[in-house]
Amino acid sequence: MTSDKIIDMTAMVGLYGTLRPHPWIAANADPQDAYSLFRVHATAMGWSASRPDGIGATVWGMNDAGQAGSGEERRIGWFQVGLDKTEGALPLVPLVVCAWKSLARIGMMDVDAVQLLVPVHEAAPAWTHLVSTRSWFTTADPAARVHAEVVLDPGADETGEQTSAAVVNGMQAISIKPFAVAPVPDRRPVANLACEPALVGDLWMGPTRNPITLDAELPEWTPEAIGWLTSLVTEGMNKAGITTSTLISIVRQPFPGAGEGSPPAGG
């Protein structure tokens, strides 16, 4: 058995925080779980095949899912899918939305971090898609704006000489407002603690790591905005020459205090 990194069409998403199950869930005569709810919601939205025979275009096929067994686990749910071949943008917004809404059917949740495994090597150029969908967020409540740390972990020896600045430079082709992203050259990321347990370990990513850290602002802490930001940084990685399955962590953080450095600049 080798420890080769796994590079395929797999995508995953994990949500971290707290989940308090609805009181009626345990008594449900037709018990559902993260797996079945995610699958059903994806089917309803046309993201995954409703027919078990695989007929009909879809963006992914179900793989697996799990949910926290107790209220003390920070990872409240995770989902794994196999992406179908597409010439369009990776379905990262639908993935996060589907995961978020599935867990919200189970209980009241407070999500403070999201982690995704993104097959960046399968990502087609997404600028058109990003430009076409950015205006959704311009109507967000200004008071809903959040700061977040973004950590990109391409796994074993995949970062090479690339830096956070190179990834951010890769996003400069368009204006990304109302989002903002800035490089963070030297800061220990908090994502390792916030996203524990990680979606995948050395089995998928290989034994050595050299993560890249970014600061970001999102117009709102919603699954749509988190998915859009993930698409953006995926594009930046592609432009920077990182084209492999990458673990992307987005951790909500307090806004830095005034005078603690330059705020991230929207493009």
């Binding site: 080798t2 079945s36 027919r51 078990p52 695989g54 007929i55 196999g82 089995l203």
Partner: protein, 165 residues
């Protein structure tokens, strides 16, 4: 036994059971250790027929996210109009070897309620021997408990995985 004689026996079985569930043509499915490569779009005449009484369902065979590296696939059933409440669901993993689909490992089997909800899925697993790229699929079979049903099986789409056998 020829394909035609197997089909005849299947029809007789339905007649004598007195509980014909699905009135579709019998598609011979000689499941030995090796199967010819065929349509992997997973459609069967039963599933395409409007008279169907249940769906057979399965997900993509995939590598589990926790070690050791293992290929895995789930199967379940969805009741459409049968009176059955339970079914035995079997998930058999297969790999493509020299143009033939070959089963690997024992089938995963579970007696479950319909819908694929919590605790109502069967799982087939096989530990990867190496990280070679191999095409995988699963064959999902549903047998309604207490009722006769058709012999159709679901073939999930082929997936290329870094999981050699």
């Amino acid at each position: 036994m020829s394909s035609s004689s197997r089909g005849l026996l299947a029809k007789l079985k339905f007649v004598f059971s007195g509980a014909l569930i699905l009135s579709v043509a019998f598609t011979p499915a000689a499941y030995a250790d090796q199967e010819p490569s065929g349509d992997d779009s997973s459609i069967s005449s039963a599933q395409a027929n409007e008279s169907k009484v249940f769906n057979t369902a399965g997900d993509y065979v995939h590598i589990s996210n926790t070690p050791p590296r293992t290929a895995s696939g789930h199967g379940w059933w969805e009741n459409v109009s049968s009176d059955a409440t339970l079914a035995d669901v079997t998930v058999q993993l297969q790999v493509l070897n020299s143009g033939n689909w070959v089963k690997v490992g024992p089938a995963g089997t579970a007696r479950v309620r319909s819908g694929g909800g919590a605790g109502n899925r069967a799982t087939g697993r096989y530990g990867c021997a190496n990280s070679l790229n191999v095409s995988w699929r699963s064959v999902v079979d549903v047998d309604l408990v207490g009722y006769a049903d058709s012999p159709e099986r679901l073939y999930t789409p082929s997936r290329l995985l870094q999981c050699g056998v």
